[in-house]
Symmetry: C2
Subunit: 389 residues, 2 copies
């Protein structure tokens, strides 16, 4: 169901022939009632044309529909690329009876080439005709690139529903949204309010994952809220529960993205506590989460805490490295202490399963942070060396 | 010849049984005349015992000998590890008629385990007995771990000689020295002067390379200068020529380290020009040099400039990203322009050989920086997933 789980959302996915595989590659999501919404975008200095165009749209209008294509990222395409993104929004708007500014355009795929506009616009026509209450699943298929499978999440409680779909796989890194995700809800939000709910949820989910430390030019998280749950008596308690569901959906999608990271065989959960500050906890968790040596060891199921120490000890912070005192540091793998009081404990944890929790207790202050990361495998190299993505 | 090329240096390498392979694993370098010298160390917050001990030694004495073991890093070993490093220095000093503070101890290998002291001290005995003018080559063998082969460099001019040996392979990243290197010269330097020559040479060589972005706990560059060239009439011009030779030797060793990076098949030369500032040029060059997507593309000989753009656009700088305007940016692979004025040029460079030069001209200011990096291959994953290093 994904994005069509909340009341009043239609979706579709069609194969427009943009992906060479012939798989679905154009997705459309549409609220049937006037919606409010917002988006968070990649902070990369190189912003894809659909990001440039959609940001501009959201400055003047509330989003009512999202059109996504996979296969070509429409990034680094200059002014002609922007015109292609505008034309995509215009056609979508015309078909759905909207203004172009009410359409968010997203693209994912290869950087550089122009969009095959004839095929894409024919795909938009077909997607508009195919919009349905059952379209959530096929829409979630149509936004994928090198992903192994679709990523969807639904949370329902207290009379409202939050749902989402995402694509990830490569160039996944918390430089902001860092992949595509469309989240829908029938919870009633006022115009301008969506951002204050989406931002903290994204901070604690999509911005805490890393597959390869690379930050894409196209990343986006879009939230549409149409109020069709019928809820009219909002209060801070209900808002809080909505926030929690929203974060739940975002965190669920984020974890699926890591688990399906290019070539991933294990999800690493890096948990840093008692750092000198939150900023330094962040820097250390990120450093460990992006260390190729930690990630290849994880692929080999080697509880190599030496590499964890080396990474943690060189986490950039304020022009130097984050504070770390080996004599106070405690490191554990899946709950088994491996390093404490400046020396190895001698215990050797058994790593098997599809996840591994690496805890670092710095013993310095109250800074905390956590990251999810995938391992670094042969398949990561194969996927990225053999194909242009 | 390596470190024994300059006048008045002896070296040796012996197999002490620390490396399971049975290869040489203890190296000794000794100046026959009173030398002056200095070292630059890893900035990692987790510092190996030999680093802690040797730093302390150099605070009170000029280094006359360097003893190196491979196989065990003596890192994260706490107080007992420091005692092992001290015992190694003490035995070396006793055999060579030196004070322990005049001995620099270096270790490289697995993090965590204690040194096998009985075997190591027997190795030191054998290495001291084997010291010779021909020992440079075997010493360069005895400091290796996963390296494919020894790395040595010699530069001679104006009546003096500079030479060095290095080991690299993994955990190579410019957080300071980031590997082991011992550089010798018969140029006459006064006590306290060595540092002002070594520091700029290291900044422009060892601190400009990255194999995997990981920064080791043991990295060190040591310089010994014994003045045995017989040069007595130094002047600024000659000092300048010595500086150049020193930098040449460091750069030669640094390039060999990258070319022999774990699993490396190509040396990437990332050259950034016209950035807003030198700091931002640095950040961009480093970001591109450490991008797994750029490095896997290089392994696949794919001139994937889209990934270069995505990496360059997300180079951390001052809490945000370094300035980059796609409309001013020009990117070239091996001299072939691939991106200019906000759009692809359409040209497709042919990547073959064992090196690839990626140039980014930002068109913003006068910031410049260059990095050497290796690619990311199956063998990198194999080496680091299958073995504990």
């Amino acid at each position: 169901m994904s994005v069509t789980a909340p009341r009043g959302f239609l979706a579709s996915g069609v194969a427009a022939g943009i992906r060479p595989s012939g798989k679905p590659d154009v997705a459309l999501v549409r609220s049937v009632a006037p919606a409010v919404g917002c988006a968070m975008w990649t902070r990369n200095r190189v912003q894809a044309a659909p990001v440039v165009v959609s940001r501009r749209h959201l400055e003047t209008a509330q989003p009512q529909a999202v059109v996504v294509n996979a296969g070509v990222a429409n990034a680094a395409t200059g002014r002609p690329g922007e015109e292609d993104a505008l034309a995509t929004a215009a056609r979508t708007a015309q078909l759905l009876g909207l203004r172009p500014e009410e359409v968010v355009v997203l693209s994912t795929g290869v950087i550089g080439p122009r969009l095959p506009m004839e095929r894409l616009l024919a795909g938009v026509d077909a997607a508009a005709a195919a919009l349905s209450r059952d379209g959530g699943a096929i829409a979630a298929e149509a936004i994928l690139t090198t992903d192994q499978g679709p990523k969807t999440a639904v949370a329902a409680a207290d009379g409202f529903t939050v749902a989402g779909m995402a694509k990830g796989a490569g160039m996944i890194h918390p430089c902001l949204a860092t992949m595509l995700a469309v989240v829908t809800t029938d919870y009633p939000l006022a115009a301008g309010e969506a951002d204050s709910f989406l931002r903290p949820a994204v901070e604690r989910s999509f911005n805490r994952i890393s597959v390869d430390g690379d930050c894409s030019t196209n990343d986006a998280v879009v939230l549409l809220a149409n109020g069709m749950s019928g809820i009219t008596d909002r209060d801070p308690g209900l808002d809080e529960r909505f926030s929690r569901r929203l974060e739940e959906v975002c965190a669920d999608l984020a974890r699926q993205i890591v688990a399906d990271g290019e070539g991933a065989t294990v999800v690493l959960e890096i948990v840093v506590s008692s750092a000198s500050s939150h900023e330094e906890a962040e820097a250390i968790a990120l450093r460990v989460a992006t260390s190729p040596l930690v990630k290849t060891a994880a692929f080999g199921r080697d509880p190599n805490w030496g590499r964890v120490l080396a990474a943690a000890g060189s986490a950039p912070s304020n022009g130097g490295f984050a504070r770390l005192d080996p004599d106070r540091l405690r490191v554990a793998f899946d709950g088994t202490p491996v390093f404490a009081r400046g020396a190895p404990t001698g215990q050797v944890p058994e790593l098997a399963g599809a996840s591994c929790r690496i805890e670092l207790d710095l013993g310095l202050g109250d800074g905390e942070a956590a990251y999810l990361a995938s391992d670094l495998s042969y398949d990561y190299v194969r996927l990225n060396a053999e194909y242009t993505t």
